[in-house]
Structure formats: C-alpha cells, structure tokens
Symmetry: C2
Subunit: 453 residues, 2 copies
Amino acid sequence: MIQEYINENKERMLEELFSLIRIPSVSAQPDKHRPDMMRCAQRWQELLTAAGVDRTEIMPTAGNPIVYAEKMVNPSAKTILVYGHYDVMPAEPFELWKSQPFEPEVRDGHIWARGADDDKGQSFIQAKAFEYIVKHDLLRHNVKFILEGEEEIGSPSLSAFCEEHKDLLKCDVILVSDTSMLAADLPSLTTGLRGLAYWQIEVTGPNHDLHSGHFGGAVANPINVLCKLIADVTGKDGKITIPGFYDNVEEVPENERRMVEQIPFDEEKYKQSLGIDELFGEEGYNTIERNGFRPCFDVCGIWGGYTGEGSKTVIPSKAYAKLSCRLVPHQNHNEIGQLVVDYFKRVAPKTVKVDIQSLHGGEGYVCPIDMPAYKAAERGFEKAFGRRPLPVRRGGSIPIISTFERILGVKTVLMGFGLESNAIHSPNENMPLKLIWKGIDAVVNFHLEYDKD
Amino acid sequence: MIQEYINENKERMLEELFSLIRIPSVSAQPDKHRPDMMRCAQRWQELLTAAGVDRTEIMPTAGNPIVYAEKMVNPSAKTILVYGHYDVMPAEPFELWKSQPFEPEVRDGHIWARGADDDKGQSFIQAKAFEYIVKHDLLRHNVKFILEGEEEIGSPSLSAFCEEHKDLLKCDVILVSDTSMLAADLPSLTTGLRGLAYWQIEVTGPNHDLHSGHFGGAVANPINVLCKLIADVTGKDGKITIPGFYDNVEEVPENERRMVEQIPFDEEKYKQSLGIDELFGEEGYNTIERNGFRPCFDVCGIWGGYTGEGSKTVIPSKAYAKLSCRLVPHQNHNEIGQLVVDYFKRVAPKTVKVDIQSLHGGEGYVCPIDMPAYKAAERGFEKAFGRRPLPVRRGGSIPIISTFERILGVKTVLMGFGLESNAIHSPNENMPLKLIWKGIDAVVNFHLEYDKD
C-alpha cells in the first residue's frame, strides 16, 4: 500500500526534492549564498504545507532562519519532533563533479547532486512519510518539524533557539534522518555519534614573503613550522600526543566490542572502495572501533605560499590550516577546544607567531537501544528492508543531538538511510533512489509502530 | 659628467623602464602571459637599438625567445657579454600590493612594481650605461647582450641555446646585474651563489574526498602525511636529515669565515626588518654563513583540502607542496634532485601514494676575486659609491651562471644593485631610484676601468 502510493507519486515527489536541491544553500559561504538560505527555507515551508502540517513559520535566528512546522492531532498524545537541515556543504572542487552539483541528475538509479543525501534527500524522506500518514488519516500522535540552515557550520544559532522556544519544541522524542546505514542491504540504526572540535591555525613568520635564496636557511619558514606542529600531534602508534587529550575518553566497553564483532565488515572491500593499500589508525583498535568509538585528529585543509603553476622560490609570510578532532562521549568540545589552543600556543617555536581560533564544536551522543522509539524504529526498518537493523556507533557528528538532550531533555532516534558510498561532503554526492522509497516506507512504519507502545 | 647625462635624460629613461615593467612577462604562467613574453622581448629590442647596438635579433628557443644584441667595435678587442632576463615572478597575492604590480609608481624615492629590481630595473642599468658609453664614444671593447625570458622558471632553454650558439656568445667575461648589495651605503660584489633544486610533491590518500566523521581515524589523511614527510626533513639542529644530503658540501673555509666577520651585520635590525623575534637555522653557523655558505630546505607552497571560508569537515583525497633546496658548490642539483625523490619514495608510508617530480634546478657558483673583470667592477663601484665593495657570497641562485662557465668557459662578474629590502619575488617589489642612477654610474666606470687592464 505504501509502495503503491510511492509509485503513483514518484514523479511529483522527485520534482519536489529537485526543487530543494537546485537552491545552493551553502551555509559556509554566506557572502555568496545568503539569499539562497531564505529561498530554501521558503521552499521547505511550501512543501511541508502541501504535505499536511497545519501550522508553519519561518523563524529568525542570529544566523539563518529555522523552518518550524507542526500538526497537532491531540494535546494529550505523544509528540515526535523531526529535525533536519536545509543547508549543504560547499560543492568545491567543482571540477571533480561529473554533473552539476546543484542540477540534480538521475543516473544508474541514483540522484547525483549536493544535498541528494545530506540532508535534503533524507529530510525529504521524513516529509513524505508524514504526508502519507496524514493523507491516509493514520496520524495518532503530534508531529513537529524543525529544519535549520546552519548544521554544516556547527549549528551556531540552534541552541539559543531551543532555549528560547522550549515550549514550542516540547516533545517526547526527536527523530532525525541524517546518518547512514552499513549497506543498502544491511540496515542499521546509529546509536552513537562522535563530537567535533574544529580550529583554524595561522602561522606567521616574516612580515612579508621573502626570496627563498636570500633568506632560506636563516629564517624560519612558516609552512615548515606548521607542518612540524601538525606532524607532532599524531604519534607513530596513531594516538594523539597532546597531553590530557584522552583524559575523559571512555574505553570501548567489552559488550560493545562484542557487538562490533557482529557487524559484517570486509576490510579488503573497504580499502578497495577507497583505493588505498593500507589503513591507518590508532593501534589496538579495528576500523569500526577507530571511526566509531575513538577520537581522531585530521587536517581538513592547508594552504600557504605559492600554489600556482610552475615554481616560485619564496618563503611565505603566512601558512594556514583547518584542524579538526572527532571526539567521543565524555570529551567536552569546549575543553578540548581550549586544550588544543593552549597546546599549540605552548609548543610553537619563538621563530614564528601562532594564532589559533576555535571555529565550532559539539558533543558526542549515545542512544539507549531499549527505549520505545528506538524499538519502533527497529520495527519500521524491519518492515521496509525485511531485516532487523544492527545498532552501530558512527563516526560522524551532529552536535545538535547532544544539545537537544541537554536543553529539551529528550533523546533522539537516528533513522538514517544514507550510505558511505553516497559521498556526502565530497564531489559527486549521490543517493540511491530505492533508499528514498524504502526510507519513506520505514518512517511510515515507525509512526505506526510508535503508536502501539 | 655621467650624473649630468642622467639628470638630463631621467624622465625619458624612467618612461623607458616603465614601458618594460608594464608588460606582465610572468614566465611561470604561460597560459596567461605567453603573448606578453614576446611583447617584452620586442620592447627590449627597441630599447637596445636606441641605446646604440648595431645588431639585434629575437631568437627562438623551445620556450620563450631570447633577445640578442651586439656592438662590435674591434674584432681583436675583448668582448663583454651582458646577461639579464626580461621575465618576472608571478605577482600573486595581488591583494597585498599597495599599488598595482604592473603599473609602476614612484613613491618615497622608490619605483614600486614587479620587476622594478628583478630584473627589469637591473638589466636596464646595464642598457643605460652602455648607451652612455656609446653616445660619448668611449667604447673600446665589444659588447653583447642576451636577455632571456625564463630565468624565473630555471632557464630551461638557455643551456641548449648556449650550446647551439657558442660562437655568437663568444666573450671574455660575462656581466650580470641581478643580485643585491649589503645596503645602499654598503656596496658589495657577489662572489658566490647557491644552487637550487625544486620539486612538486603530490600525496594521494583515498580516491575521493571523504567525510571526516565517517572515516576520520581509520584512513590516513594525505595532509597529515604530507606534513609529517615535510617535518621529518629538518632536524632539531636545523640540519637536513636526508641521508647523503651533505656528502659533497664544502665546509666554510676558515679564510672565508674571517671575511664574513668583516661584514657589518646587525642581527637585531635584521630581525626587526622581518618582524620576527628569533632566527632559525643550522646550528654552528651564523646568519651570513647560513644563507650564503650552507644548503637549506624550504617549502615554497602547500595546499590541499578545504581552504575556503568557514569549516568543512573533509579528509581530502590529495595534498600538494612545492619543495625547494638551496645548494652550495659541489652539490650537483641533478644528484640532489634524485636523492630527494628517492628519499620521499622510500619513506612514504604505504597508506598513501607519493608522486614527486623535479621541476628545475641549477648549480652554485664562485667568482675569483683576483680576475681583471672583478677588479674593474670593484673600481667601478668605488667611483660611483665612494666606497670599495665587500666580496660576499649570497644565498640566491642564478643557475645559468654555472651553466655559462661549463658551456662557454667564462666566468661571470655579478654587479648587482638591489637591496634585500627591495622585496623581489614578493608583493611590493621596489627599487630605490638613486640606486638605478648610481648603478649606471658604476657600470659606466666598469667599462672604462676594464679597458685599462
């Protein structure tokens, strides 16, 4: 019956999703895309209204606006708050895309575009499942939606928004589709997320670019220094060397280690899909533990000096990098943020000046697998995919999930339908069409199952 | 008398120099500037003709053409070959220039523009001294000019050109104005140059950019790896750690160490002019030794990952750097080039692929201070500046100088009139006007003194 509805409405639904994708709502580039943020929020408002909400509002924040919508069927019934985000990552480098990032194309059964998965495609699944439930008069609980426009830059305005609108956002559980499954035929529910801390570092050497012949060997080169500072953060054993970094890190519990062993994982296939010969990570942990349970340090960007064609012999005045750490439960992102800032200031040689700023961060999250909403999600997945989903801790960060818990006092169920191969945050982001349809099926069943408890 | 001529012709001369500077002859950016190379060569041809040569030709090479010109007064007289280059370094980053790099401006007694010193300004000094000598009928030896258009990219076509035109380039000594003095009131003659080797390195991790949350900690990040590779090249003592790197390096001779001690050098002033608190370099050597007598390793550029506004959480597929070494006499740039390529391939971890290419290089050079042309240059400087110039080894590289010696069998005298504060290769390159006029004076006197031997 759900499949029938999907088949009858496929074309309209795809056109609706494409209308969202075509708006380049890149939150990290406000100079270029500020008007697109409002356009995208308005388009969501139209789509949610058409889907059946009875109230919707575009609510201002200090940053990009938040789309709020609700359908209240019964004040004494339970309330589910659906969270998603309408902003997307930058699409650079454009030249690596096979088709235009903001002009969705269907090829080989996938939608190819920025946001096809993260998070326009996935939020769309929530909206269309809601539409089905409403149109078939199956809704027995209240549903609220909030769609924010700053997730990809760390949700700087959302916690203030939650504090200010606690009553409006009152709910029993939060439902989010913004994570991925182990494989298209191996559904899973995300039971943990890593936290994040992110910095920009600027190393200044001489007060202007120098001729590397006249000064080379006598003056510290800020690129060389920056490389040394970065290199020293990771030990040979793959551990982060910054004193105090692991102080609050919880060791992987034995029962979770045993659950990890249940997860089918083919290391050869994994390496092959990434085109690498050898994996690298912290000694004493396997890949799933490394990217689900353990923190890490990655440079997300680096630049300095001459980067054009050919050769220029220069000692640049400045070198820069964007640094990030994924954090795990009990690591406070503010504390780690400061720890790393203090560390770099302490170890920086006197031959240069080091300026480092925290850009954003957020806490990790753990979802209990015995709560009713989790169990409803499990059954929803099982009905749509014919297979019980595995509980898995994932390495990504949705900092706002721990903020919701802190401010609104509710847990979140992460019903994600992405795949690692969807290349979110990368060129050629994509989403298999069949996962959109199965996702709608699973979320519809979640709503139905949730009422049974 | 020379000053009088200069005073009478100042405005015309400046306009001539500016006409050269206005042509953005950036050899490192052929896609953008190929037509400018020919325009600049033609402008030089016009100016040399007006200055009094009796033959001039724009000669093709595999790369940018070479401007040849000559005035032969007597087949049995000695011949001086003046070498210069009409290409310039890229002007990026443009935003750091106080005035347009290719629109020369006179402020505070300096010309501000790319090429004001290196090497349009300095080659112009040679042309105008020649003009004076010819116009006043003082020329007693033959003069040849070659101006190339690829010096800033390592003169890839010039050695083939020299091999092919040995007869045309036959001469007794080569004269070059492309170096700097210790200070405006402290003339010096460059008696040594460092060699150069230059590479581009590409580190490839995963076959596409990855979400740093899903993969962070489990997959080697090519930026982190590149930083480690670079950091490991320099030891705590400032020495290069690559095995075999110092094998052919000549220790600073004791008599040269004593000459270095004669050079007035104010370390505090040096640091202040660069805006740095501490110098860095190889232990056991002072600053002048470090940048004149010792090799070094500098990263001239680095890039990879997200370098735009805000934060993007990505493990990039690739990271790049431009690496360079200044070399000293007896270090062969081809050997060092290969040594470094082999080193990086050997130490690269198996978690990534490392590709490294030699871009260009050249040998160092030493000029004997007892040869007649050197002595004539010494007296020329003394007449113009009222002070005997100090012999100094400098850290820059003009690889072609050692090539001239190898192919044409002649030594070069380096009569340079630049200053370190002229910011060559940097934003806000400049040249004090008075050094242009004093330079012409010194070169005129060189020609006159050279005939006396």
